[in-house]
Amino acid sequence: MAQPDILGPPGQGVPPPAGGMPSARRARLGRRLRSLAGIALSLALTLLGLLLVTFVIGRIMPIDPVLKVVGERATQAQYDAAYQAMGLDKPIWQQFLRYMAEVLRGDFGRSISTGHPVAQDLLRVFPATVELATLGTLIGVCVGVPLGVVAAARRGGWIDQVARVVALVGYSMPIFWLGLMGLLLFYGILGWVGGPGRQGIIYDGMVPTVTGLILIDSLVAGDWAAFRDAFSHIVLPASLLGYFSLAYISRMTRSFMLEQLSAEYVVTARVKGLSEGRVIWGHAFRNILVPLITVIALSFGSLLEGSVLTEIVFSWPGIGQYITKALLAGDMNAVLGGTVVVGTCFVALNLLSDILYRLLDPRAK
């Protein structure tokens, strides 16, 4: 047994400086907290920028908001009263402050196409999109990540080839066509799944709204029949969206993994005698988590935007459909309200992936 001749037996070496180990950890924690404060600041600025953009768009659109409120046949006096009530006679910066205050209160104005406050509409349509996007992303991650990892580990093998074809089809098939074919086959012919919409007509409105996510609300209510019904309706569109995010996620995972598997530390892990599974999942995979999370967050974000085509094919009452209809009707309040919600979600997702990035990569400052 070799003993260090300078330091004496182990454990009796030079004592670590007082609080050596904890101080290193505390420094690391302090760095992280400071960086979190930095993130929060940039988050606030980004949101401010988002509001500024939506405000400007609202003002420069060639749609008269007053006319939309009072109607074509209003008298000049009615028009002027509404004009003043909406604060449009004030300087533009005051208008912006008022807009900001309204948005912060959750007041996006009234939608002229539905007649409800936009906030109320969004509370109805956004959960539908969240439910679909979440399930779709879950499918994309649970299948796409392992598929990408295995394709990289067995590069050129049959799994790699299958994964390549699956991704290619996912990229290149028009989603509305796949959606229609899916409906035709699984709903029309086989009858395995529910048809368009979120629920069968007899379950509509039967489950009390808690989160707005019907799968969860029906579980909360303990209503298994409603849960099964909602599931049979969501499974097809969610699989479709899942397939698309799977195509993207699996390709990205594969290329991240290939890069890591050629790294020297992977050889080190093999030299140590680790099994191939531990080399891949314990060493290489941990190194792709950071870029992978960014990819997943981006893919989730784009699904949250509402996949208009999927929502239309499946009559899914989500935000993509809502915004599109509002846009075609010139309903600016609804469009801008929806934009703020989607934009905020994007910023929040970015923040989340930033935080995870800092937690997962010790090199991040």
Binding site: P4, L7, A24, A269, V271, H283, P362
Partner: protein, 284 residues
């Protein structure tokens, strides 16, 4: 005494578009409890020899040999599961640059403990003690701190000492050091070498020291193999390196500047086609 490692006529080849490329073409040597230097230029097959011994040549690469024995047992083309048990526990390797050969997202302590626990089946606490002991053995002044550090938080010389600690923790019989000091600052090279030498010597291990640095090998090793184009062209005791007979070795030596024999111009190595296929020079 039978050698720790015995290799006869080792060949490593890779398929390419234009037929098989032979990276190693019939290398033979025995390794005892000694420091064996393997010298050669880039592409001479010295690193590939090391990887072949560890069973790390991945398909479609092919390893063939008349014999490759570890402690009298054949390790030629062992099934992967059996080779894995030897790797790390009986033969280990230190690579060139600790910046790349340590996993950046795992603490030093975990990386050391991982291999040790795998081969000894010891508890976490025992592995932790062993890791701290090994860190102290490679003369890291504050093992506790380094144990919790990530690789980017330590210097290159310290990283290489960590590699040595990690690879020696399960007590292997043979260490292959593949250019272990090439990526280090000159100032810490000797220190790392001394530490490695002492640990390897004290454990009675065999060391295969792969390098392109003739002077270093001459000083540090007991015996030297000179490789050229996948073959051993000369084998001789390190202290007799200056008396090398093969023109390639002489050419290498002549291309080094020497303080005691200043020359106007350093000689340039003139390669001869015949070296590629000549049989290795016989040495007694």
């Amino acid at each position: 005494m039978s050698p720790l490692l015995s290799v006869r006529n080792l060949r490593v080849s890779f398929p390419t578009r234009s037929g098989m490329f032979e990276a190693v073409r019939g290398v033979s040597f025995d390794l005892g409890r000694e420091r064996l230097g393997v010298v050669g230029e880039s592409g001479s097959g010295k690193s590939m020899t090391g990887r072949a011994i560890l069973g790390l040549v991945r398909p479609p690469g092919r390893v063939e040999a008349e014999r490759m024995e570890l402690g009298g047992e054949s390790i030629l083309n062992l099934p992967e599961a059996r080779m894995r048990r030897l790797r790390g526990s009986r033969i280990s390797m230190v690579m060139q640059d600790p910046k790349f050969s340590l996993n950046p997202v795992m603490t030093v302590g975990r990386q050391i403990m991982e291999g040790y626990r795998l081969h000894t089946g010891k508890s976490r606490a025992a592995a932790r003690d062993k890791a701290l002991e090994m860190l102290a053995a490679v003369q890291i002044r504050d093992p506790e701190r380094v144990f919790h550090a990530y690789p980017h938080e330590v210097s290159g010389g310290m990283g290489q000492r960590i590699m040595i600690a990690m690879m020696l923790a399960p007590d292997p019989e043979i260490l292959i050091a593949d250019e272990p000091t090439s990526a280090l600052d000159v100032s810490v090279r000797n220190e790392v070498l001394r530490i490695m030498d002492r640990l390897v010597g004290a454990r009675g291990m065999g060391l295969i020291f792969i390098s392109h640095d003739l002077n270093l090998v001459a000083q540090f090793c007991d015996r030297v193999l000179i490789m050229y184009a996948g073959r051993v062209v000369e084998e001789l005791p390190a202290r007799d390196l200056h008396a090398a007979k093969h023109p390639y070795t002489q050419g290498l030596l002549n291309s080094l500047p020497r303080l005691d024999r200043p020359v106007e111009r350093l000689a340039v190595l003139q390669r001869q086609e015949g070296w590629r296929d000549a049989l290795p020079a016989e040495t007694p």
